[in-house]
């Protein structure tokens, strides 16, 4: 057994503190506290419900019924928790001896070569071997036990040493670890038993085995969705060989959100593609021309078709032919002026030069 003098000394001191904490935690009997408050709350709500029902106040009754259902569910949870905390015998099970705790800590380095005791932080931690599940590398994890929290629900955290989190959620560093908390699953009873009885070595081994096991039916993020990039436009998760990068912003985009510039042919996301104001085809910014004095852009072809005026402005595009009325009446000059003005006003290129319609 590999023992360094420093680690051995730290183990002795840590073991004493851990044993103290175990003794203190064992004296706190969680099973002794019945959920009296929740029961009293249920009694109060039930009483109010009977009051409003007797008076025929149906709206109030509906609301109170929901409240009563919620309170009774809460009460049920607390009763179940109380039952699960009942000791198996009428006398509490003994915790391990101080010597057992020392032996556990000293044996840690054989199971986990990278074991550390931080007396100042009241913690003992181990680093696992790099974990790979179904071909997905997750890196090593540090399991840190804070012995002053023994007796609470989860007095430890699981921290990725070289995080390789899921693409969907960077707090999920392992399919069963989110925000440094392990979902113990079927290991929960054994882990809690090991902690409450002071079997520190067993605790670390158990947590390590949970990390080494993949349960695809109940993961924060399944491994088949672990890597990949979300489409910049629609958010669809893309495998690394599915994603295309926008030529301009270099964000990943899916095939549905990718468009090609009608001139250069490069692929762009929809945010980086514009449209020619005339032919309405998609073009990138580099392939669109915005004439001086205009808010609109033209592709090269459309831009070339219309020579510049002497003042440098692009000639307005001719408006569409007007439909003649059934009686073939010629439009009045007033109508023509109004039509021309309207046409000019609606032509985006001439917005800056068109007279305002009367």
């Amino acid at each position: 057994m590999c023992r360094s003098p420093l680690f051995s000394r730290q183990a002795l001191r840590a073991a004493a503190r851990i044993h103290d904490q175990l003794t203190r935690a064992a004296r706190t009997t969680p099973w002794a506290e019945l959920p009296v408050e929740s029961w009293e709350e249920a009694v109060r709500v039930a009483s109010r419900l009977r009051y409003v029902v007797a008076r025929g106040w149906s709206s109030a009754a509906r609301a109170l019924l929901e409240d009563l259902a919620y309170v009774t569910r809460q009460l049920g949870r607390e009763i179940n928790q109380f039952e699960s905390n009942l000791p198996p015998a009428d006398r509490p099970e003994p915790i391990v001896s101080l010597r057992e705790v020392v032996e556990d800590l000293l044996a840690l380095r054989q199971e986990f070569p990278q074991s550390h005791i931080e007396l100042g932080e009241n913690s003992v931690s181990v680093v696992t071997e790099p974990i790979e599940l179904e071909g997905v590398s997750l890196g090593p994890f540090r399991i840190a036990l804070f012995w002053k929290d023994i007796g609470r629900r989860q007095p430890y955290e699981v921290v990725a040493e070289s995080p390789l989190p899921s693409s969907e959620n960077d707090e999920v560093t392992h399919p069963h670890v989110a925000a440094q908390r392990l979902c113990e699953g079927s290991g929960a009873p054994a882990i809690q038993a090991a902690l409450s009885k002071g079997r520190i070595l067993d605790f670390f081994v158990l947590v390590n085995q949970v990390l080494q096991t993949y349960n695809p039916s109940s993961a924060h993020v399944p491994l088949d969705r672990w890597t990949g990039s979300p489409c910049h436009e629609c958010g669809t998760l893309l495998a690394s060989d599915e994603a295309r990068l926008c030529e301009r912003c270099e964000e990943p985009v899916c095939g549905d959100c990718t468009g090609s510039c009608g001139s250069c042919g490069y692929a762009f996301c929809s945010s980086c593609l514009g449209r020619c104001a005339q032919c309405e085809q998609p073009f990138c910014d580099d392939c669109l021309h915005t004439p001086d004095g205009s808010n609109s852009s033209l592709c090269e072809t459309c831009f070339q078709q219309y020579p510049l005026q002497e003042d440098g402005h692009v000639t307005c595009f001719p408006s569409a032919p007007k439909l003649v009325a059934a009686d073939d009446s010629a439009p009045s000059p007033e109508t023509e002026t109004r039509s021309a003005a309207t046409d000019a006003a609606t032509d985006p290129l001439c917005l800056g030069k068109a007279p305002l319609p009367s």
Binding site: D104, Q154, G185, S186, G187, A190, Q209, T213, S218
Partner: protein, 82 residues
């Protein structure tokens, strides 16, 4: 002889049991985990890996820990680690 058995399968049972002298690790495993296969467990005697045919001695501490322990999202109304 009396040995301490720690079965980390399921609820994490730990207690002293009386076994005949000369009981081997393999025999102990078959007795405590009858439906299990040894290669699916980490078996330690006095916190050390041992051969399956090693004979146990008085006061030995033997533990069986499943290699595969499935983590899982919490059930409804429970909170993961809270």
């Amino acid at each position: 002889m009396k040995v301490l058995v720690i079965n980390n399968h399921g609820g994490g049972f730990a207690d002293y049991v009386e076994v005949p002298s000369g009981t081997t690790v393999r025999e102990m495993f078959q007795r405590e985990v009858p439906s299990g296969k040894p290669d699916q467990y980490l078996i330690r005697v006095n916190r050390q890996p041992v051969a399956s045919d090693q004979a146990l001695q008085e006061g030995d501490r033997i533990s069986f820990t499943p290699i595969k322990i499935e983590g899982a999202l919490p059930k409804i109304f429970d909170t993961c680690g809270a």
